[in-house]
Symmetry: C3
Subunit: 446 residues, 3 copies
Amino acid sequence: MKFNKLAIAAAVCSSLTSPVYAGSELETLLMLLHENGTISNEQYQRVLSEAKANQKTVMDEKKEMQSALDQATKVEFNVSKGGLRMKDREGNFAMKIGGRLQLDSAWYGEDSDASGSQLGDGTEVRRARIYVQGKMYKDWGYKLQYDFTGTGNKGIKDAYLTYTGLKNLELKAGNFKDPFMLQEQTSSKHVTFTERSLPDAFAAGRHIGLMASTKHQHWTAAAALFGDSVSTASKSEDEGWGAAGRLTYAPINEKGRVLHLGLASNYRTASADDSVQFKQQAETHVSGVSIVNTGNITNVDSTLKTGLELAAVAGPFSTQIEYIRTDVERTGTDLAFDGWYAEAAYFLTGETRTYKKGKFAGIKPNRYVGQNGMGAWQLAARYSTINLNDEDIDGGEADSLTLGVNWFPNPVLRFSANYVQVLDIKGGAHNNEEPSVFQLRGQWAF
Amino acid sequence: MKFNKLAIAAAVCSSLTSPVYAGSELETLLMLLHENGTISNEQYQRVLSEAKANQKTVMDEKKEMQSALDQATKVEFNVSKGGLRMKDREGNFAMKIGGRLQLDSAWYGEDSDASGSQLGDGTEVRRARIYVQGKMYKDWGYKLQYDFTGTGNKGIKDAYLTYTGLKNLELKAGNFKDPFMLQEQTSSKHVTFTERSLPDAFAAGRHIGLMASTKHQHWTAAAALFGDSVSTASKSEDEGWGAAGRLTYAPINEKGRVLHLGLASNYRTASADDSVQFKQQAETHVSGVSIVNTGNITNVDSTLKTGLELAAVAGPFSTQIEYIRTDVERTGTDLAFDGWYAEAAYFLTGETRTYKKGKFAGIKPNRYVGQNGMGAWQLAARYSTINLNDEDIDGGEADSLTLGVNWFPNPVLRFSANYVQVLDIKGGAHNNEEPSVFQLRGQWAF
Amino acid sequence: MKFNKLAIAAAVCSSLTSPVYAGSELETLLMLLHENGTISNEQYQRVLSEAKANQKTVMDEKKEMQSALDQATKVEFNVSKGGLRMKDREGNFAMKIGGRLQLDSAWYGEDSDASGSQLGDGTEVRRARIYVQGKMYKDWGYKLQYDFTGTGNKGIKDAYLTYTGLKNLELKAGNFKDPFMLQEQTSSKHVTFTERSLPDAFAAGRHIGLMASTKHQHWTAAAALFGDSVSTASKSEDEGWGAAGRLTYAPINEKGRVLHLGLASNYRTASADDSVQFKQQAETHVSGVSIVNTGNITNVDSTLKTGLELAAVAGPFSTQIEYIRTDVERTGTDLAFDGWYAEAAYFLTGETRTYKKGKFAGIKPNRYVGQNGMGAWQLAARYSTINLNDEDIDGGEADSLTLGVNWFPNPVLRFSANYVQVLDIKGGAHNNEEPSVFQLRGQWAF
């Protein structure tokens, strides 16, 4: 039940000063009885004064109650979405306390003739986060999110301040994700598979910086300037810096029907040691083994990443395609790496993927488990490929096929099973290997 | 004051539609005066319509107030137990935010002829935890607890999801304690002494896994399957895994009178490097020195731990005894280590130890400090022993006597003083040493 | 609106039992009409009993509403200061959840003939903290604060328990700041410049200990006994310990007019390895380079620090001066280092610096941004100097001039720009360098 307290407060207050009030009918009757001569003048005055006195008592009581009620409804709370959400009546302040837990278990199958290091079966707390997020003085926002699986400042995720006092423009300062790649913009709790696709090797990640963005029904634009990541300690040399921009256009954007196009660019100078590295696991994280890996590329000036995005939703069906190319400028010959993926998913239970402001959001099942429902069930498939071979760099080229099933008992919970078959690896330390992955995840997030 | 809001809401709402309503007596009087001819038809109608109009105003006001009140009582809050607890009126959602702080200071005494390394006096934040815990959609629960004294994912303690939608059966997935040893099942904030006894070297700890458990007035049972601990990163070899079960039987279980019997078993394969180690400090943690220590035992296949538990409460008196045996299967001769302890405690102030669902819970003093009371005072003594000598392993055998006094000013606070005298160490690096420990702890926990 | 719920509850409850009640006037009229013979005895009884029945219904409804209201106002909430604050009606329990984020960006300029290591430009999350703080059972308090930029227990900041049940005396146990130096007592979110002055090399920091303090309008006193810091793990040698005391006297202490004098002393034995080190960056933290640095001073027995404080506020103008001397007792010749700073600041927008209990507190702008205001604007200048040269120790002597501007859009936010010019370095690894610093900070704190 959505409930407008201001309206109530106004209604309640106006009724206090209304000329008609409860009990006035008795005074009218008294007056008539007096006029009729049924009661004497003295009797009339006696009852009338008692009525007036009582009226005052009633009014005072009501006022006190309304004051208390006013106080009690000053802050509105909600725990019905898992975390704690609160906001003040006037809409100037709000606060959320929430978290995320992802529990993974993975089993690996490999060719017997594999020459490289093996993938080790195991379990993992993939992400364990808490955050506080809020709004203050109407136009300002903040967020501080920490992932306990990280060590020290490597666990700092979103940590920023926003200003939204300008029409349709958000200014953001702090540590947050570069506006790059659709699968990165979409939260890890909402991506279709347990792990993002192979070209996530080119993900830009989070940096400390400034971003201006504008978001509309049919398009979004973001431009940002970044320093280095939180965990980079500048010492005797300057840290790296970067610039990023992303444009999205959604000619169709309504519930259950979406067409999304995106274009993003990400420039970054090399960090203090003038090196970069690209590597990627087999769409799994429990094992720490990267199946493709450029190793440390030295003498690097800068990298320029370009991303193309295409996504569509048609009722229970959704698809998403991205191509990423990374150009590495270095002393000597420049390098270029790239990769792409295409995924499709289908809700057996009729839900539709939610698209908001240039990225995908969470799933709300049509019927929850425990409320005469079986939650939402989704099937998904993905092909992804990455090429880290270029010039003298023999990082390897890999492609993989992933099948997944997701079960959302309610909006807070998610269980996923993924099967990944690496189809081929050409070059690199894992040349000709074809590992497979079976992975389970349990997740709560709010 | 426990307060049933649903009942109130029902009562309030039913009164709205009640055929008898405040003010109806005036209408009755009007009717009678009209019948008696005291007032004219016109006068009757005039006052009646005014009464009706006022009645409507009163009803509208009441409805608005009740709506606001309904909103204000949608979530019920409680800060009177230290942390923040909230739950929605319908019982579908709940959330707690709490924490624990343990501050230790320790002084060590030693034989002058001690040959090994010395124990260093000092202070320590023993545990500094916060957690969020909750219930959602009635049948699901979650917890995320972090200990800031740990580094990175080593600080992740309870991190799990539960399902309680099945009758008398709880399913739990995530990171949580193996169901093994009574002194481990009992929270560190509720154990009798500042540190657990010597055989805690055999504690199973927390692992990522799945557990089914059932809890009854007179018995509990739990069976679980585990992967490795959170902080174990699988790489090129499979992580270890384990299976655990625990049965408890309480033929007597009423307030102030408890008899508890327990039997538990814990199997675990060795981690990737095929080694295990058992070691234990002198029932203290400030100094990092272990008085018994097997060192790294290599070529290990698996360990099997067996635990026997006996505990009783009789009014202010309580006692607890455990025996643990650990069998190590390895290439070559297998090994067996064991240990046991017996403790007894007595409340001078008349409280009784609380037993719930196969383990001990917290103390609520009869009279709080600041409310005409002196809190709860408890005296305790413990004998414990552990033997880590077997075959080629010379880990040492030790036994110690511990005396303790606990003061609980209120249900949130606890202050403890412990004196530990190690009676003898046979074998190992600390052979023939007899260190003593004096330790103070201040604790808040909610 | 400050709102006394107890008074309301009392008023509401007393009105329930009042002999005059709403509706009594009708009974009086009935009685008169009966006496006049206008209505019959039977009619009188009928209406009267209906009135009585209705009266009871009204009373019951009111009682239910008041019970619900009582429940709804049991805990009072406030989110209008940024974080979440709550307290129970009786004043026995309270809880705050809050945090702090400081985002820094720094650029460094240096002499071309600088011989030492360079300062590297960069960005940084300077502090990212959350805390829970509360009151329980009226006389007890607690706080647990963690800084996510620290690793493991190095991130533990305030972690303590307090007892305030004694008149004008606070007892504190746990991890908290030594009572030493005005610029250290003043929170990092409230100090005038982004970083504290050069003599902060002598800051005592936080240790685990016990403190008794008393705070009055015109003076404060604190005495404390400490073990070592949280992150010091005692092993085979005893940890260091310390004793500290601080006296402040404020002959003038009213809003807008303050004169503060302070004297503090801090004794500490050397840690297990018998060494101490003093070093300081150029009033910046992004670069990790210390411009003065004693290196490891060995064979140290103890240090004794002495601090003198002087501060004044006159309307928008404020000033603050401190001198610190550190005596190092060691095998061989003893050492003495010292330093001082003087700063002055002025609010262009008319605010005044808030002084409370021997230290400075936060700024509340006269007019907030977004509420017809431009926030508070403050200009500040500081000279500071430190001498780490003595005997065989060639740590360097440095002095610097700092200019700053602070903008406080509202009580939660702060943006600062600082320019630091190191005037000269004599001795040490950075002899004759004159680096400069330009630093920006964005901060939210509540």
